[in-house]
């Protein structure tokens, strides 16, 4: 009797959870289906390599594509070394005291700060205080800053997975702390650190708010010629094409095409992270951990 009712609960639970998963998957499928079917028609070599033409009603998205690539790279250059360094310090050097607990809490809270707030902060810090002006550099740094909390947290997790025995083994042989970290901790942690960082950066690549005031331009016919230039970016271009353009209905296919390119870009980054993590796991098993 009892066994019977618990079987039913088991059955209900299983299907309820399965329904949740199915629902989430369904939403994803609908979003993709919508964007792909409406965007694929416009994608062509010209679309990817031409600037917008005729009052942004024709042509392509080349400057926006390049702009997004550049800011993403700068965000990565800032977030990856800074985030890794910070994580190494927190996990390997810092003592567990009130101060480090406070810093960890702040980092966690930073990841909850709305992206528009990062945008404002970027204006104050990079555009004005650092005199970068509204530029690729300012916007890239702002995105990098936004990615930092994720990068730090992921890097710390990666460091924690390296067995303590590796560190102790090296130290007991007379390695300095840095030698033990460099030779026996980082080689096993870096792939995991990078995986986290890439996921964070791919998220940032699709953000509009942080670049809105820090360097993204409505329309520029040419690609930027230095890191101090303004730039076009895919997410901002998409925003303009869907809400600010004088003929939104006419340019709808361009908007969908832009969305598709952006999604493919983000997915490529995520895929790279997934592949890296997969390789890492495989290696982990070979290590017998």
């Amino acid at each position: 009797m009892k066994a019977g009712s618990s079987r039913i609960i088991e059955w209900l639970g299983f299907w309820a959870l399965r329904a949740c998963m199915g629902f989430v998957a369904l939403i994803l499928v609908i979003v993709f289906y919508d964007i792909i079917t409406k965007g694929i028609g416009i994608i062509s070599w010209q679309f990817l390599t031409q600037p917008p033409l005729d009052g942004m009603t024709k042509g392509g998205i080349f400057p926006a594509l390049i702009g997004t690539l550049f800011v993403t790279i700068i965000a990565g250059l800032l977030a990856v070394p800074l985030g890794m360094g910070c994580a190494i310090h927190l996990n390997e050097y810092a003592r567990d005291n009130g101060l480090t607990r406070f810093i960890r809490m702040s980092i966690r809270n930073l990841s909850g700060v709305p992206s528009i707030v990062y945008g404002l902060f970027g204006v104050a810090l990079f555009v004005e205080a650092a005199h970068f002006g509204t530029s690729i550099l300012a916007a890239g740094c702002t995105l990098g800053l936004m990615t930092l909390p994720v990068t730090i947290t992921a890097s710390e997790e990666a460091l924690k997975t390296v067995p303590r025995a590796y560190r102790e083994g090296a130290l007991a042989l007379g390695a300095t702390k840095w030698q033990s970290i460099w030779g026996n901790v980082l080689p096993y942690a870096v792939p995991g650190m990078l995986t986290g960082a890439i996921l964070g950066i791919s998220r940032a690549a699709g953000e509009t708010a942080p670049i809105l005031f820090t360097g993204a331009a409505f329309f520029l016919p040419d690609i930027p010629n230095s890191v101090f230039s303004q730039f076009m970016a895919l997410p901002y271009h998409l925003y303009i094409m869907s809400t600010q353009h004088h003929n939104i209905v006419l340019v709808r296919p361009i908007a969908y095409g832009t969305a598709l390119v952006l999604i493919v870009l983000v997915f490529t980054l995520n895929l790279a992270a997934v592949i890296m993590r997969y390789n890492l796991r495989k290696k982990g098993i070979a290590h017998g951990q």
Partner: protein, 253 residues
């Protein structure tokens, strides 16, 4: 005592935060001899042995008072560099912990970080250390295979070879055979007996027979205190303290 004293603990108290793990330890470690430390689980054996090469400093909030001497010099003193000390006092851990590198690289690592650059010299020393650790014949054809593909006993001897390569003066073993089968255990024990000719050895063990087989001196620890210390054969035949007797006859522990 017959042998010269190499290391000495004088009135050592040790705390993990507020929790006291060692109380008033006095212990002499003789040169070119094996000193065994025995006692029930949690009595502070690992804690003590890790003080001898200052590995306790990795634990946050660790507090140590008293003196630990190596050749008459206090190694806890602030002017002594822990890194230099660990090159003189090596350690082999309970669980074999080879690096996930090749067998060769495992042994070469300690040499490289100590600044040895000459490839020929490194190779010479690696081979010599593997021979001393009675491992050479088993691995000479696979020096560049991963160390993680070795058996537990081989891994532990590799860790010993790794430690020997940097030519320490004292070697600390914390339950080196705890995860090994009887045959591997026998090999490691034979090795320890061989090594004592050139090195000063301290070994923590749970295994009374092992202490009896390999050690010259034994210290019995109980709840953070050293209850009894003496020549191994005396301790195992005529223990002075009731607690020691109970422990070595297997009445508790």
């Amino acid at each position: 005592m017959d042998n010269k004293i190499r290391m000495k603990a004088e009135n050592v108290d040790f705390f993990y935060g507020r929790q006291q793990a060692l109380k008033g330890i006095h212990l002499d470690i003789a040169s070119n001899a094996v000193t065994a430390i025995i006692g029930p689980s949690g009595c502070g054996k690992s804690t003590f042995i890790r003080l001898l090469n200052r590995m306790h400093e990795l634990v946050p909030n660790a507090v140590l008072t008293g003196r630990i001497l190596l050749d008459g010099k206090d190694i806890i003193a602030p002017d002594v560099d822990a890194v230099d000390l660990r090159r003189r006092v090596g350690m082999v851990f309970q669980k074999p912990n080879p690096f996930p590198k090749s067998i060769f690289e495992n042994v070469a690592y300690g040499l490289q970080i100590n600044g040895m650059k000459d490839k020929g010299k490194i190779e010479e020393r690696v081979i010599e250390s593997l021979k001393k650790a009675a491992l050479w014949d088993e691995v000479k054809h696979r020096l560049h295979d991963s160390a993680l593909g070795m058996s537990g006993g081989q891994q532990q001897r590799l860790c010993i070879a790794r430690c020997l390569a940097i030519e320490p003066e004292v070697i600390l073993f914390d339950e080196p055979c705890a995860s090994l089968d009887p045959i591997s255990t026998h090999k490691v024990e034979a090795l320890i007996l061989e090594l004592k000719k050139d090195y000063t050895i301290v070994i923590v063990t749970h295994n009374m027979q092992q202490a009896a087989r390999v050690s010259d001196y034994t210290g019995f620890f109980y709840m953070g205190e050293m209850v009894e210390f003496g020549r191994t054969e005396v301790m195992f035949t005529r223990p002075r303290d009731k607690r020691t007797e109970d422990y070595i006859t297997g009445r508790f522990g």
